[in-house]
């Protein structure tokens, strides 16, 4: 892995953000919403509206507005919310922290469950354990988050009364209380990925266990355990890194639903309410932050892959 590969990869992140910024700015510009009306209300006089439009640069050509907005973003200024009048950046970044707590926990739960499930299914291929894992994963990929979330609230919170149905307490304030409220959202956010990743691990491992080098390792008299762990898993789990990184995109989408249902003040919920109230600066910033998160995760995954798999020659 050369420096120029890393350089290229970083350039790609900026290109991604550039394209996303154009896209999101374009979409929000076409949105049938007049920022001036939103800020001053329906009853404002035409003069007042016009003055505000002038002040906000809304009468400038679109490219000038984009440039103005983009310059601000580069300097960390995402503008002010039309709804609250507060700066968008600080509010969203604190929401991002909440969402990341949720996402990282969901990822961790997923890894802890999905990889052993996939391995178990592959090793016991065609037997009961494989069928159970396969069945569970079919169900898992077929249940949208809002269904699992609703069911979880009904069963675990309402009927059994085991956990609080919704709400969020920062872990730093009340660790146990916060954790209790996170159990259901984290489970719901991770189900789809558990199903997907365990299937991937299974099929990768099944493929690897049929390769010539695994046969060679067995015929060298190595113990089944060493063949599986040292020769099989290493090769099977490498592609999983890429798959998990791509799934992060899905996770970020799922988090919107999960935060909405469990009333968690994360970036998904902020985006959802911004979309409903057409709060353009918040939508723009939220989408940018999500895309940046996704890009960075995939960049990290690529680096990790390249570091683990010495075969790949990057130029």
């Amino acid at each position: 892995m050369s420096a120029s590969y890393i350089l290229k990869r970083i350039a790609l992140i900026f290109y991604t953000l550039f394209i996303v910024s154009i896209l999101v700015f374009g979409i929000t510009q076409i949105l049938p919403a007049d920022a001036a009306v939103m800020m001053l209300g329906e009853n404002a006089t035409d003069e007042a509206l016009e003055a505000l439009r002038q002040q906000m640069g809304l009468n400038d050509p679109i490219w000038a507005q984009y440039l103005h907005w983009a310059t601000g973003v580069v300097q960390g200024d995402f503008g002010t919310s039309l709804r609250t009048g507060q700066p968008v950046g600080p509010a969203l970044f604190s929401a991002l922290g909440t969402s990341l707590t949720l996402a990282v926990l969901a990822l961790a739960v997923m890894l802890v469950l999905a990889i052993p499930m996939g391995i178990l299914a592959a090793v016991r291929r065609g037997r009961a354990a494989d069928l159970v894992v396969g069945f569970v994963s079919y169900i898992g990929v077929s249940l949208p988050e809002f269904v699992t979330a609703t069911l979880a609230v009904v069963v675990v919170a309402d009927i059994w009364g085991l956990l609080p149905p919704a709400g969020y307490v920062p872990l730093a304030e009340d660790f146990w209380g916060g954790l209790q409220r996170l159990i259901l959202p984290v489970s719901v956010a991770s189900i789809m990925m558990i199903a997907h990743v365990s299937r991937m691990v299974r099929s990768e491992l099944v493929d690897v266990m049929h390769t010539d080098y695994i046969r060679a390792a067995r015929l060298k008299g190595l113990t089944p355990r060493r063949v599986l762990i040292r020769h099989g898993l290493r090769n099977a789990l490498l592609p999983t890194i890429t798959i998990v990184a791509l799934d992060v995109g899905y996770l970020l989408g799922g988090i919107i639903v999960v935060e909405e249902i469990f009333s968690i003040p994360g970036i998904g919920r902020a985006l959802m309410s911004a979309i409903q109230s057409r709060d353009l600066p918040v939508i723009q910033a939220g989408v940018m932050i999500m895309a940046a998160t996704y890009s960075i995760v995939n960049f990290a995954a690529d680096l990790m892959y390249a570091w683990l798999d010495k075969r790949i020659q990057y130029d």
Binding site: S4, L7, D212, L219, G221
Partner: protein, 547 residues
């Protein structure tokens, strides 16, 4: 002879696989034995069951395998009576294996040192540190120059020959009683294969290990094995001392196999009329791969293209068969692709007076006159088209000749000795040899004047190869088309070519008459190549009697 003299005894062994609607019998009543220090060659074509025999000895059979009868003894140990756990102690320690393709039999993500040392740790109880040191010694022993460095390398950082040496070092690591060699040189280039064979001979002599050497190549076995067993469809049809077996083969199948092996001195082509003007002249044709990347441009870096073939110049007369030989990566296929418009090239191809400098010069007439046949018929026939559609294309495109297209297709099928009913089949319903005949039929339906054959027999079994070559030479006589015959099989090309071009790493080393290719004044690389080739068994054994 007592049991203890025997490294391996297989007695009345039968194996079948459970398939839909019954059992497919793979091995029937196999009797084999290998004395200590002996090399037994096991020869057979694909589907003969030779690989299943190796798996049976290693006790590594597929889940649907059913062992119906027989015993397998390793020394005094009844292998079929061993549990899986006991077997794992035996594998690698008492019996080990060398595989066909070192590129796939080594784990791509583990250091070579670890893949060698783990066997020493497992079976000889060494600590990892001791095993690493011992591994280095082992690598030095198999002729690797910098063993310490090699131990730390990853498989992709080494050549095929080096990798196979590591595999061999691993197989010998615990001084086993028996080593199974499963086509260990088939995936390697000629010269590398020769070096590996020499290494095998040396190590075998030194350690006196018993060997089961599995191969499809009779010529090779006639050189390496003490005794040879011929396996046909799961039955050993003949078994005996190597020299005797080759001199006086008893079974028809053995005779057919020996006859099918290409023999350089049995020429299959009639002398060429050298007075006619060249049909094709290739002048300074160079092919480069790769493309300058944007980053290279931005950073003003020098860009070194990968050379496919470099300034190749050659001529072909009407009706001439020109062989092109060279190892993989020598540029022989690249040239074929350039001549058929599949690669961009610099330089000039003059075809019957028409200059061709690029793709745009290759008009319909050129396409019709120049046909290419590929190595793998599986890949060159579209899996979703019936034979009828595949064969109708050249007729529709070029329309040369007259008559009903269906009748012409039927006639061509007959000519390549396939039943006319095949028009309704899909390629996957045909055998490998039949598919290649379809590809040949497709090429000849356009009445070409030049046919480029790119390794067209190397994916086929020996006997199938012989019949495809026979067909090809028959078509050559009938149509008078010139051939460019690209191959790595030097015995074969000496049989059928008028002249032979030798390529090495993109350069054309020389072109010589086929009869003169073995002359002492050839280029050094040509001589090296010729020396590495195993001469066909019958020729050698007939002239140099041995016991």
């Amino acid at each position: 002879m007592t049991d203890t003299d025997m490294a391996l005894r297989v007695e009345g062994y039968s194996l079948a696989y459970d398939v839909k609607g019954g059992q497919a019998r793979v091995l029937n009543g196999i009797d084999l034995s290998i004395r200590r220090g002996e090399i037994l060659g096991l020869v057979g074509e694909s589907g003969s069951g030779k690989s299943s025999m190796a798996s049976a000895i290693m006790r590594h059979l597929a889940g649907n395998a059913r062992e119906n009868d027989g015993r397998i003894w390793l020394g005094g140990t009844d292998l079929r009576a061993q549990t899986e756990r006991q077997m794992s102690d035996i594998r690698g320690r008492r019996v080990s294996m060398v595989f066909q393709d070192p590129a796939t039999s080594l784990n791509p993500t583990l250091r070579l040192g670890e893949q060698l040392a783990e066997v020493l740790v497992r079976h000889r109880g060494l600590t990892p540190r001791q095993a690493w040191a011992e591994g280095e010694a082992r690598l030095a022993h198999v002729g690797l120059k910098t063993p310490r460095e090699m131990m730390a390398r990853m498989p992709h950082e080494m050549s095929g020959g080096e990798k196979q040496r590591v595999v061999i070092a691993t197989a010998f690591a615990c001084n086993p009683e028996l080593i199974i060699f499963d086509e260990p040189t088939t995936a390697l280039d000629v010269i590398t294969a020769r070096q590996i064979l020499d290494l095998f001979a040396g190590l075998q002599q030194e350690t006196g290990v018993a060997s089961l050497y599995i191969s499809h190549d009779l010529a090779l076995l006639s050189q390496t094995a003490d005794r040879v067993a011929v396996l046909q469809k799961g039955v050993i049809v003949e078994q005996g001392e190597t020299a005797g077996l080759f001199r006086t083969p008893q079974h028809d199948y053995t005779k057919a196999l020996i006859a099918a092996a290409p023999q350089p001195d049995r020429r299959l082509v009639t002398p060429l009329d050298t007075t006619r003007a060249p049909l094709v002249s290739v002048r300074d044709v160079t092919v480069n791969y790769g493309r300058k990347s944007l980053l290279d441009t931005l950073l003003r870096r020098d860009y070194a293209p990968v050379v496919g073939s470099r300034a190749v110049t050659l001529e072909l007369r009407p009706g001439e068969v020109l062989g092109i030989v060279g190892e993989s990566g020598s540029g022989k296929s690249t040239l074929a692709k350039a001549m058929t418009g599949l690669n961009r090239f610099d330089g000039l191809i003059d075809f019957d007076g028409r200059p061709v400098t690029g793709l745009s010069d290759m008009d319909s007439a050129y396409r019709r006159d120049v046909q290419i046949i590929f190595q793998h018929p599986d890949a060159s026939l579209n899996p979703r088209q019936r034979i009828a559609e595949i064969l109708a294309r050249p007729l529709r495109l070029y329309g040369r000749g007259q008559g009903d297209p269906r009748a012409r297709i039927a006639a061509m099928l007959e000519r390549v000795r396939l039943p006319a009913s095949y028009v309704d089949r899909y390629p996957h319903q045909l055998s490998g040899g039949e598919k290649q005949r379809i590809a040949i039929a497709r090429a000849f339906l356009s009445n070409p004047r030049l046919v480029i054959c790119d390794e067209i027999t190397s994916a086929l079994d020996v006997s199938v190869q012989a019949s495809v070559i026979e067909l090809l030479m028959e078509l050559h006589r009938d149509t008078g088309a010139a051939y460019v015959f690209i191959t790595h099989d030097i015995n074969l090309v000496r049989q059928i070519a008028h002249r032979i071009a030798v390529m090495y790493r993109g350069d054309l080393v020389e072109i010589a008459d086929a009869e003169r290719i073995a002359d002492p004044d050839r280029a050094p690389y040509t001589r090296q190549l010729l020396e590495a080739v195993t001469p066909p068994a019958s020729a050698r054994l007939a002239t140099t009697p041995q016991d």
